[in-house]
């Protein structure tokens, strides 16, 4: 059956330095894919390239079997592939409801709804932002903003959300909550998660791709990855060292 | 929003800005000339001029001369037994502002007539309003021909038009050296374009050859290269006319390249320009319509020169004289009209046949309000810090349409 995401032989170099080197990643429907790797290994570059924020030097990207290679970001988002940012990004000056409205506006007709806020209620409840509906987004806590970010993606009923470090800056308690939240989403849409926190990857991902300087050095079940000597030498070793 | 320390610092910057303001106000508290005292309801003349902005110098020097005339007239019983009142109005050297100033004087101050602009663009703005709303408009200093284009009803101009100056310059060259060659180097202003149009037209007919024609953009800085170009053409005369300070820059750089002052002809010589050319330029020629070093000046002229020099510290030249003469012309026309009425005043101006108060040069206007034209050419003899001496080299009179001025500068 068709992959939800199928990226083939992606190449991208910045001034001769390979950010992505012949990288092929695919993701089955319903599967949650994790991506790990040291800083500057090209994880965010991968998201940027796939979601059209960055022009590729080579390679093709398919979403649900249809090509989205070289499309503009907003076209790709319309097609159902939508991303979040490493640093949380919401319209700080606007109230939560307006944030959702803007997020919904470009999609609701395509989805056959009558109102851009169709389904916003349930989302706010599910992400426990209900009582914050009228608050200005800038006044929310980081965790709340992270959740709002999710809501703004979910309202477009995407096929796949690419999350760039979704728990960045959260405390352990919040991280636990976030993981539960994301687990709850897996039924609705595909998740692609970049993380440094192994805990998140271990609990969330069905499969993990390890990136080092733009190349895939391992690809498999989280448990297996943890044992992979190559991965340990090139990446996890470093993580352990720092975490000690 | 600013952070708290930002805020209080901002308060300081507020005080600072106040300081600047206070300083500025102090600088600007210049004494305004007291309105002349005489019996009865004054006859109002709106004086729209460049009192601030790029050419504020000309506006201010001009209005000083006009106010001298105003005071003299009122000291001698005014006009028709009533005082004459000049209402100064700033146009910020901005035509649009001049147009609205005209509207204000017409509708608010209910002036009898408009006058005052010392540059063509502001004058044309007022011209448009005056002709449309039938307000008499006496132009002291503005040379663009369009101001007296055929069909003009309400506008009268004392200064000969710029295309005519070009004609006069060629006539002058023709006299000094028949068949001479001349190079043109000037800034791209409407005035200069008009002069050059007339100059080229007449040059063909007088056998004067134009060997170079170099136009500078209005914001040029340096003319050395162009001066060198001119040099390599080696003409008998160089016509030099830059905008603002660039005029002095061109002149100096032409001289640097080894031209003799005697080869340089400036189309016009306002006092600060002449002082700016400086001792190096002694021997060079400039066109003008009044100069304190002209021979046989009458008492009005002498009076103007002394009074003006007392007030401003420098001698008056043609701009100041035209503004002074304008006020006296308005007085004479009023006396001819016999009543404070716009149409009567306009007709009086049309039929006026008199002499310029200071120079005794004929003052007659054709059907378009263009004056019987004339021009002096003077040669610089000595230049001091605030004064100079020149000597008359050539004088010429001609009819406004001796050449097709309105086609040459539409």
């Amino acid at each position: 059956m068709t992959k939800v995401l199928d990226a083939r032989g992606l190449n991208k170099s910045f001034g001769g330095v390979w950010a992505l080197k012949d990288l092929s990643v695919d993701q089955a429907p319903g599967e949650t894919l994790g991506m790990i790797g040291p800083n500057g290994s090209g994880k965010t570059t991968f998201i940027n390239a796939v979601t059209g924020h960055l022009a590729l030097d080579g390679g093709e990207v398919f979403l649900d079997g249809k090509t989205i290679t070289g499309r503009k970001p907003h076209v790709i988002a319309q097609a159902g592939l939508i991303r979040t940012y490493q640093a949380v990004r919401v319209y700080a000056q606007l109230p939560v409801s307006e944030n959702l409205r803007v997020a919904g506006l470009p999609h609701f007709r395509r989805l056959g709804f009558s109102d851009p806020l169709d389904g916003a209620e349930d989302l706010l409840v599910k992400l426990s932002l209900k009582e914050k509906t009228e608050a200005v987004a800038g006044s929310l806590t980081l965790f709340e903003q992270r959740r709002l970010e999710l809501a703004m993606r979910l309202i477009s009923r995407p096929k796949l959300i690419m999350l760039d470090e979704p728990v960045g800056g959260l405390n352990p308690g919040e991280i636990r909550e976030m993981i539960q939240l994301l687990k709850g989403l897996r039924a609705e849409c595909g998740l692609f998660v970049i993380e440094h926190t192994m805990k998140v990857i271990m609990e969330l991902a069905d499969r993990v791709v390890v990136l080092v300087s733009g190349e895939m050095i391992a690809n498999g079940a989280p448990a297996a990855i943890l044992q992979d000597a190559n991965v340990i030498r090139q990446y996890l070793g470093a993580v352990r060292a720092t975490s000690r | 929003m600013l952070s708290r320390d930002g805020k209080e610092a901002v308060l300081r910057s507020f005080l600072f800005t106040l300081m600047i303001l206070g300083f500025a106000v102090l600088v600007l508290l210049l004494p305004s000339p007291a309105a002349a005292q005489a019996k009865g309801e004054p006859i109002k003349i709106g004086w729209i001029s460049e009192l601030s902005g790029t050419w504020s110098f000309f506006g201010n020097t001009g209005i000083t001369a006009a106010q001298i005339a105003e005071e003299e007239i009122n000291a001698n019983g005014g006009v028709l037994g009533r005082p004459l009142q000049i209402i100064p109005m700033d146009n910020r050297t901005d035509p649009a502002q001049a147009a609205s100033a005209a509207r204000m004087l017409d509708t608010q101050n209910k002036v009898l007539a408009l006058s005052g602009p010392t540059s063509s663009d502001t004058a044309l703005a007022v011209y448009g309003y005056a002709e449309q709303n039938q307000v008499p408009f006496v132009v002291p200093v503005a040379a663009f021909p369009r101001l007296t284009r055929p069909g003009t009803q309400w506008t009268f101009r004392l200064e000969p038009d710029a295309v005519g100056w070009g004609y006069a310059i060629v006539k002058f060259v023709e006299k000094v050296k028949p068949g001479a060659s001349i190079a043109l180097i000037y800034s791209d202003f409407a005035l200069q374009r008009a002069i050059v149009a007339g100059l080229k037209y007449q040059a063909e007919r007088s056998g004067v050859s134009v060997v170079a024609d170099i136009i500078f953009p209005q914001n040029a800085t340096d003319a050395t290269v162009q001066a060198a170009q001119v040099k390599s053409k080696n003409p008998d005369f160089v016509f030099v006319s830059g905008g603002g300070a660039f005029d002095v820059t061109i002149t100096n750089q032409i001289l640097d390249l080894g031209f003799k002052p005697e080869q340089i002809i400036h189309p016009f010589g306002a006092v600060k320009m002449i002082l700016g050319w400086g001792p190096r330029s002694i021997g060079s020629y400039y066109g003008t319509f009044f100069d304190h070093s002209l021979g046989g000046l009458n008492d009005y002229a002498k009076g103007l020169i002394t009074k003006f020099t007392q007030r401003k510290g420098y001698v008056p030249a043609y701009i100041e004289n035209f503004c002074y003469a304008t006020v006296y012309l308005i007085k004479e026309a009023l006396e001819k009209a016999g009543a404070v009425d716009r149409t009567k005043f306009r007709d009086a101006m049309r039929n006026i046949n008199t002499k310029e108060i200071t120079t005794g040069i004929p003052m007659v206007f054709d059907k378009n309000g263009a004056r019987k034209e004339f021009m002096y050419f003077l040669q610089m003899k000595e230049v001091g810090k605030e004064t100079y001496k020149s000597q008359e080299a050539f004088y010429i009179e001609w009819n406004p349409e001796v050449i097709p001025v309105y086609q040459l500068a539409p």
Binding site: T51, H53, K72, P73, H74, A77, I82, R83, Y85, V90, Y91, L94, E98, R101, V102, A103, L105, H107, E134, M152, S156 | M1, L2, S13, F14, I20, L21, A24, V25, L28, L30, L51, S52, M89, D90, R92, D94, P95, A96, Q97, A99, S100, R103, M104, D106, T107, S120, D121, L124, A125, Y127, G128, Y129, E131, F144, D188, F189, A190, P217, Q218
Partner: protein, 326 residues
């Protein structure tokens, strides 16, 4: 809401009535007309500078394009003002779209700077093509718009009636801008102003909407230019130089960026100053400059903007306290 609608109706009636109330003095009527012009212009610019977050320093230049196009059509080709004006507006809008293209690449300050350059170039251009603009001596004796009646009679739309036309134009502009800001487009523009990357990522074609904003905003620049030319009766490159752009921006910023009433407040307070301050011409530039400095320092939100802001913060504070009590 009801009292609000009443207030709006009142404002409209007032705007339409003022020309007659002022008609006693042509001078004050003229100032009123100019104020209407600036309401039109600043509301138009507000769509870009306020709602889209782009400061178009070439706005006066665009107004110039509109003005010169209209004037040439009317005076050279005898086209009726009412046909020439839309043409001029369209010309301005198209030029505006082209000159707005830098905004697709340049962020914030760099766009502002490019605007400054473009404005300078436009002003120079106006000087260097005298066959269309009359060069730096400008075009004078521009006739007032003609109203042609059945039976090929026609009378010039002058005096009070021209001010009425200006009032209508200003009101229409404000209304259109209001509608735009309420529409999806408006929401997108605000979103783009707040964070264009995020907006693009959410599936909104930022480029298209930026261009659209430029088109509409420049359209108003052109309309204003056309009316300016035929109302003042004179245009020259100096009528449309960078200072005019700054003036319009100052009105928007002073009144309140990104609010509907802000530009109106700003125009009503600032537009008459140069005419009423004639006697103090020496200080005019200094007062004007100081106003710019003050506005940027003390009213980053503008007069009306700050008013709104404080009201909003107060209500939201009350909201919080109630929430705390319950």
């Amino acid at each position: 809401m009801a009292y609000r609608r009443a207030a709006l109706v009142g404002l409209v009636i007032l705007a339409l009535a003022l020309p007659f109330l002022f008609s006693a003095s042509r001078f004050y009527a003229f100032i009123l007309g100019v104020t209407y012009l600036y309401i039109l212009w600043s509301s138009g610019m507000n769509l870009l500078s306020g709602f889209t977050g782009l400061m178009p320093l070439m706005y006066a230049g665009l107004a110039g394009v509109g003005a010169y196009t209209t004037v040439n059509l009317v005076m050279k080709f005898g086209v009726s003002f009412w046909l020439a004006m839309p043409a001029g507006a369209l010309a301005a809008a198209l030029v505006g779209v082209v000159l707005g293209l830098p905004s697709l690449r340049l962020r914030g300050f760099y766009f502002t700077l490019s605007g400054l350059v473009i404005q300078t170039a436009l002003t120079m251009l106006f000087v260097y093509i005298p066959q269309f603009t009359g060069g730096d001596t400008g075009i004078s004796q521009i006739p007032p718009p003609l109203i042609s009646l059945p039976g090929d009679r026609s009378f010039p739309l002058a005096g009070v009636w021209l001010e009425e036309a200006l009032a209508v134009a200003a009101l229409l502009t404000v209304y259109v801008v209001h509608r735009v800001t309420q529409s999806t487009l408006g929401k997108y523009l605000v979103a783009i102003r707040e964070d264009d990357l995020l907006t693009e990522a959410l599936g909104i074609g930022v480029t298209r909407y930026r261009v659209l904003a430029f088109f509409i905003s420049s359209l108003f620049a052109g309309v204003g230019g056309a009316f300016y030319a035929h109302y003042v009766g004179f245009v020259s490159p100096r009528s449309f130089d960078v200072l005019t752009s700054l003036n319009i921006w100052l009105i928007v910023g002073f009144g309140g960026q990104g609010t509907i009433l802000g530009p109106i407040v700003g125009a009503v307070i600032l537009a008459p100053i140069p005419y009423l301050m004639q006697e103090f011409y020496l200080y005019k530039d200094i007062v004007y400059g100081s106003l710019i400095v003050f506005t940027t320092i003390f009213l980053p939100r503008g007069v009306y903007g700050s008013l709104l802001f404080h009201r909003r913060t107060r209500t939201s504070a009350r909201g919080k306290s109630e929430a705390a009590r319950s």
